[in-house]
């Protein structure tokens, strides 16, 4: 027995052990630990307390372990070597042991880089194996690591370690475990197992080494909580082999959590069968609830009664005392509660009895009331009967009187009843009214109801009068048709034939009465429009019928009221057929939204080519708003089956809706630009020598991707100067506007706001201007590019020593005479400009005197009329001297001088200003340095339109990428951020960079190919790359490379 921990007891008893894992909180909240411990308690034999796992700061494992212990859960304290040296670790080990922790898992620890303090200093005073050795020494030899004795109470700890069977090298993993066992591990917990086959192999080797007999092996398992988690572990957790099968099972599962638990249980069942596995370590961090379920399903829930779990901080006696106290307190409280409950029950009973009595008396009272009510009802019934009797009588007497009345009177009565009625009729009406009033009282009607009833009866009364008149007439009578159907009154009906045969005069009043009655009924039914209609009709017939007028007025009033009240409702009705308007929206807005929505849907359908659907949607929109232009337009297009053009419906701009009627011709040829034909009939105009197209099949040509513009390069044939021509690039592709048809312009255009300075060099009509553009290089569609990039031939002031033969041969006849050289470049090769490099003046080289150099320069300048750049040797002082010397000789020629550096910009800048020369401002490759020099020059008085920037460049393979990015940044700053100080054009002195690269000097061989072609391509590629980065003037050497570059420029602009 090493420590007598529960875990040790369980393992030694041969029971299949289960351990869990508990991650302490990222706070000082003790309850979190308690809660997790309670979930795990009883389901596992011990719980690992992690030590700032993944290097994230958390409550220390020692502290959290003690809290778990106080909950009756045995902790396995984890300890890493990352955060403490041997002093701190031994101190904590002593403390842990003192406070009752009996299991220690020794780890090296995750690297601090993974955590939330990646800047911290990782300690790693020792590794996990050395830690095991150290603790074992403390326990078994009672010695500190330094060898000093532990005098009393050595730490008694059951030591664990980790093993990862899935990390590399696989064969070494069991060996490493053996080292750990050797160092002192009593048990081992493995990395999470998903790949059981690999684990089985691992265990085979472990058994071969006999390790399963020297330590207890617990297989690590984790339920995958979700597919996402499984994928994450597979991808990002090093040394964790999540199998595809697990991923598949999860992705097929309906309930991933449930499936995750099942997967975990399956793995447990399988690893249990592997000989040498003594238990499982279930890691369900932040999903502790899953552990009991997993343990249950795996049939492991019958855990042995824990032994050896004693929180030290509260001693056993104290616990018993506390328990007793708690028991007594609980008893007292329980008794108190019982008493209280009893008293409450009694009180409730009493209350109930009282309630009962009260209810009984109430019921008897109610009975009495009912009796009374019954009596009253019968009394009222009698009254009603009496009144009805009276009414009948009145009616009868009326009928009698009518029978003897002349027709005229009846007519008069119908037109204006009350004033013209006979005294008797008046009497009848009066008694009728009285009866009605009584009725109202008895029936408890309100005024409105009563009024309606009264009118009703009145109408009936009049009707009866009319009918009586008709009956008196010669023809057979019938009853007038009426909508009236009140049960109180019999509904009279009229045969249609009667109206035809009836004399109009006699018919009118009856009709009026009918209409008024109809109106009243409608009024009562609140069908105001109908009432208005009826009253109006009545008035048409008898324009001064008071009843009709009154009714009409009332009906109109009611109608107005109703309208007002139901204003909102009416509006909602307007947008019928739409989903209910949300409260926060005005119905009108809602309608508008739907119009837009329908139109949008229509447009979408239109785009898809579903014209029927489009039509439907547009029609819907037009139903809501027949004047909506866009919908109209869409409908028209849907009907004509036009396609494509998508108006931006949400913006609702009229302009957008403007139809673009033409249908894009589908047969349009796709990108003719893709096929580049070498066009022999249009050689570049600069070509001085007529082209002899001796096209040799270039070796790399078949490998080159077909759509790329291929440029035929012919190797020099014979004496070499005659074959410098380069085929042009095809230019007949349609303009971008055409190719981008249908795509909004702002998608592919990003116009710049800055402008590049334009700088002129040279005199007269041979002068060249570079710069001036408002767009990125070759972005002709985004802005103006008034001047194309230019090339200049480099001419040396002395015969070059290091130029390879394949370059020198073009100048061999003029190599000793710079002026003739320059002349040849212009007359034979068509040079646009010459750059005279004054290399020989270099004090570290030939150190030709400034005066001599100036003479050479003067000759060159006089020999040609193209623009000249004078490029010094790079020594600031010497260049100042030489260039000044030259300027004093050349009078009025406008040359460009350079390089001006931070060391000599003052002197040379002043010279340039005096003669109004453009200058080359040269800086080490850096955006800020370039800008700074421009600022200094400007402060001096040199205008930005007299500066060419030389940002220092590198050839392909020699820093071209760096050059490119610096130039690009310069150009972007000038164009997009309007950084004026970076707006001068860029000059690239690239020939010298390319031709000093060793690749241009190595002779032709099978591997590197033809030397000349190699050099030409290197120069041309460097040039074209730098032009794409923003270069405006390329100083180059090889005529063929220059021609290639020109063709490229020409093809792209």
């Amino acid at each position: 027995m090493m420590a007598g921990s529960n875990l040790e007891n369980v393992l030694r008893s041969g029971t299949f052990a289960v351990t869990g894992e508990l991650g302490p909180p990222k706070s000082g909240d003790m309850e979190v630990v308690r809660k997790k411990a309670r979930i795990l308690k009883g389901h596992v034999d011990a719980v690992n307390i992690t030590d700032c796992q993944t290097a994230i700061v958390r409550m220390s494992s020692l502290t959290a372990g003690l809290i778990a212990l106080s909950e009756g859960v045995e902790p396995v304290m984890q300890m890493t070597c990352r955060d403490r040296n041997r002093i701190g670790m031994q101190a904590d080990i002593l403390g842990a042991s003192a406070l009752g922790i009996k299991n220690l898992l020794c780890l090296t620890g995750d690297h601090q880089k993974f955590g939330n303090h990646p800047q911290s200093k990782g300690v790693f005073d020792m590794d996990s194996i050395q830690l095991l050795q150290m603790v074992k020494g403390m326990r078994d030899d009672k010695k500190f690591q330094c060898g000093e004795d532990i005098k009393k109470a050595e730490p008694r700890l059951f030591l664990g370690c980790a093993a990862n069977p899935f990390a590399d090298p696989f064969e070494f993993r069991p060996v490493r475990l053996a080292k750990k066992v050797e160092a002192g591990a009593d048990f081992v917990q493995t990395q999470i197992i998903y790949n059981i086959e690999k684990f089985r192999k691992f265990m085979e080797i472990v058994r071969d080494l006999g390790l399963h007999e020297r330590c207890f092996i617990l297989a690590g398992v984790t339920p995958p909580k979700s597919l996402g988690m499984a994928r994450y572990m597979k991808k990002f957790v090093p040394g964790l082999d999540v199998t595809d099968e697990v991923i598949q099972r999860l992705s097929d599962a309906k309930d991933q959590k449930e499936e995750g638990i099942d997967i975990c249980v399956d793995i447990i069942n399988q690893v249990r069968e592997i000989p040498g596995v003594s238990g499982v370590h279930v890691m369900a961090i932040e999903w502790e609830e899953a552990v009991p379920e997993i343990v249950k399903r795996a049939g492991l829930s019958d855990r042995p009664e824990p032994t050896g779990i004693e929180p030290v901080l509260t001693s056993t006696g104290a616990i018993e005392e506390a328990v007793d106290k708690a028991r007594q307190e609980a008893k007292i409280e329980l008794e108190g509660q019982l008493k209280k409950a009893k008293a409450e029950a009694q009180a409730t009973r009493d209350l109930l009895a009282k309630e009962k009595e009260k209810v009984a008396s109430e019921i008897s009272g109610l009975k009495k009331q009912i009796e009374e009510a019954k009596n009253m009802v019968s009394r009222k019934e009698a009254e009603i009967r009496k009144l009805t009797e009276e009414l009948k009588k009145a009616k009868e007497s009326m009928d009698e009187s009518q029978a003897v009345k002349p027709t005229v009177q009846a007519k008069e009565a119908a037109v204006g009843v009350s004033p013209l009625l006979s005294a008797r009729e008046q009497q009848v009406l009066n008694s009728l009214n009285k009866g009605l009033a009584a009725l109202k009282e008895v029936l408890g009607l309100d005024d409105a109801q009563f009024e309606a009833m009264r009118r009703f009866l009145e109408a009936e009364f009049m009707l009866q009068l009319g009918t009586a008149v008709v009956q008196a007439g010669p023809l057979e009578t019938a009853k007038a048709e009426s909508e009236v159907s009140r049960p109180v009154v019999e509904t009279p009906t009229v045969e249609p034939a009667m109206e035809v045969s009836e004399d109009k005069r006699t018919e009118r009043p009856k009709e009026v009465v009918n209409l008024v009655a109809k109106g009243n009924v409608a009024l009562h039914n609140k069908d105001y429009p109908k009432a208005v209609e009826a009253f109006k009709k009545a008035l048409e017939i008898a324009s001064d019928d008071e009843k009709a007028k009154e009714g009409l007025e009332q009906a109109r009033e009611a109608l107005a009221k109703e309208k007002e009240a139901a204003d909102k409702a009416v509006k909602v009705k307007e947008v019928e057929g739409l989903p209910p308007c949300p409260e926060e929206l005005d119905p009108e807005e809602w309608k508008q939204k739907w119009i837009v929505r329908f139109t949008a849907r229509g447009n979408v359908a239109l785009m898809k080519g579903d014209y029927e659907a489009a039509k439907r949607e547009f029609q819907k929109a037009l139903e809501l708003d027949p004047d909506y232009e866009k919908a109209k337009d869409g409908l028209r297009r849907a009907e004509n089956q036009e396609d494509i053009f998508v108006p931006d419906v949400e913006l609702g701009q009229e302009a957008v809706a403007a139809p673009k009627a033409e249908k894009a011709p589908e047969s349009q040829k796709p990108e003719p630009a893709a096929e580049v034909k070498p066009e022999e009939e249009t050689p570049p105009e600069e070509e001085a020598v007529p082209a002899e197209e001796e096209k040799e099949e270039v070796a790399e040509k078949p490998a080159a991707p077909q759509p790329k513009p291929k440029v035929e390069i012919s190797a020099p044939a014979g004496e070499g100067v005659k074959d410098l021509s380069v085929a042009s690039l095809a230019k007949d592709e349609p303009p971008l506007e055409e190719r981008a048809k249908g795509i909004p312009e702002d998608v592919y255009k990003e116009p710049c706001t800055g402008v590049i300075q334009s700088v002129s060099i040279g005199d007269g009509d041979k002068a060249i201007t570079v710069g001036g553009e408002t767009a990125l290089p070759f972005h002709t569609f985004e802005g103006d590019i008034p001047n194309m990039p230019r090339t200049a031939y480099e001419v040396l002031d002395a015969p070059p020593e290091e130029w390879p033969e394949c370059l020198v041969r073009y100048y061999s006849d003029v190599i000793n005479d710079s002026a003739a050289w320059a002349k040849k470049c212009v007359s034979e090769f068509g040079a646009e400009a010459i750059c005279l490099s004054l290399d020989s003046t270099d004090p570290n080289g030939p150190n030709v005197s400034s005066a001599d150099a100036a003479q050479i320069a003067k000759k060159v300048i006089e020999a040609v009329d193209v623009p000249i750049i004078l490029w010094g040797c790079g020594n600031a002082e010497k260049d100042t001297e030489t260039l000044r010397e030259i300027t004093s000789l050349i009078e009025n020629r406008n040359v460009c001088i350079g390089p001006l550096t931070d060391a000599n910009y003052r002197t040379l800048g002043a010279t340039a200003m005096a003669f109004q020369y453009p200058v080359v401002a040269s800086t080490p490759i850096d955006v800020n340095l370039a800008k700074q020099l421009n600022i200094l020059l400007e402060n001096l008085g040199v205008h930005l339109d007299h500066i060419l920037m030389d940002p220092s460049i590198g050839a392909v393979g020699y820093g071209l990428e760096y050059t490119y990015s610096v130039m690009e940044r310069i150009r972007l700053a000038a164009l997009t951020q309007q950084d004026e100080k970076l707006s001068p054009p860029i000059v690239c002195n690239l020939g010298r960079e390319v031709w000093k690269a060793k690749e241009t000097r190595l002779p032709t061989d099978a591997e590197l190919g033809d030397q000349e072609r190699r050099g030409v391509l290197m120069e041309a590629i460097t040039a074209s790359t730098l032009l794409l980065a923003g270069g405006e003037l390329a100083i180059m050497r090889h005529p063929k490379a220059i021609n290639l570059t020109k063709v490229l420029i020409d093809g792209m602009l």
């Binding site: 070597c81 990352r82 041997r86 090296t108 620890g109 995750d110 690297h111 880089k113 993974f114 990782g122 790693f124 005073d125 020792m126 590794d127 194996i129 050395q130 050795q133 150290m134 690591q145 980790a162 093993a163 990862n164 990390a167 590399d168 090298p169 070494f172 060996v175 490493r176 053996a178 080292k179 050797e182 160092a183 990395q191 090093p238 040394g239 550096t901 931070d902 060391a903 800086t923 080490p924 850096d926 800020n928 340095l929 700074q932 020099l933 600022i935 200094l936």
Partner: protein
């Protein structure tokens, strides 16, 4: 050799912001080889500082010099005579050179232009890699010549940790797992079995944790 890299310009400009006369001193030793502080770098830095100071509207006079080494007295002692000409000396040597100038030239106000990074080798143009930690207790005979102290993220002594995957270290896929390499190397030398031995806990006193280190060779002492 000692590998170093130039400090950012911003930091250097702040460092010399009050300096009127500055001497930049390079070193033709390690830092020249690793393109951090040789003749070329001295002139680049001088140009950059001149421009930077001008941009900031300040006057500065900068002289340039590059010494054979800055870790031997005979090369740096002459600086004492030039101390009065300059407000400050900006050393482009490794930290050794800066310290040594400070030690030996009481009147020189010396500043570092470089960050000294590690002991490494030049893998290819522009790439250097740490190879040694100068721990003072070499175990390379046990590990096939490959250093776990300098080249393992956790300086492990007893084999690869669980984060070794496909020969790569878990901290960064660009970093090799040196323990995988040690294992492979010893396997190819048929010395794999040696890895079964537990390497005992290390004594870090020689690695500087025992205080500043010093070496004496009696036979060479004057």
């Amino acid at each position: 050799m000692i590998i170093a890299e130039r400090k950012p310009m911003k930091e250097l400009l702040e460092m010399v912001s009050d300096v009127k006369r500055l001497l930049i001193v390079g070193c033709r030793g390690c830092v020249a080889v690793c393109s951090a502080g040789g003749d070329k770098e001295v002139s680049i830095l001088a140009a950059a500082l001149r421009l930077g100071m001008k941009k900031a509207g300040k006057q500065i006079e900068i002289d340039e010099d590059t010494l054979v080494r800055q870790c031997d007295p005979e090369y740096i002692d002459p600086l004492n005579d030039r101390a009065s000409d300059y407000d400050a000396v900006l050393s482009m040597a490794c930290g050794v050179g800066v310290n040594f100038i400070a030690d030996r030239c009481p009147d020189v106000n010396v500043m570092p232009a470089l960050n000294t990074t590690f002991y490494g080798a030049n893998l290819s143009s522009g790439e250097w890699k740490e190879m040694c930690a100068g721990c003072g207790a070499c175990v390379l005979h046990l590990t096939g010549g490959l250093c776990p102290v300098a080249r393992c993220a956790k300086s492990l002594s007893n084999g690869p940790c669980g984060g070794s995957q496909g020969g790569r270290c878990e901290i960064n896929p660009d970093v090799d797992c040196i323990w995988q390499q040690i294992y492979d190397k010893l396997s190819s030398l048929n010395r794999k079995e040696e890895l079964r031995q537990i390497m005992p806990i290390r004594d870090w006193t020689t690695a500087g944790h025992g205080g500043p280190r010093r070496r004496i060779r009696e036979d060479l002492l004057p």
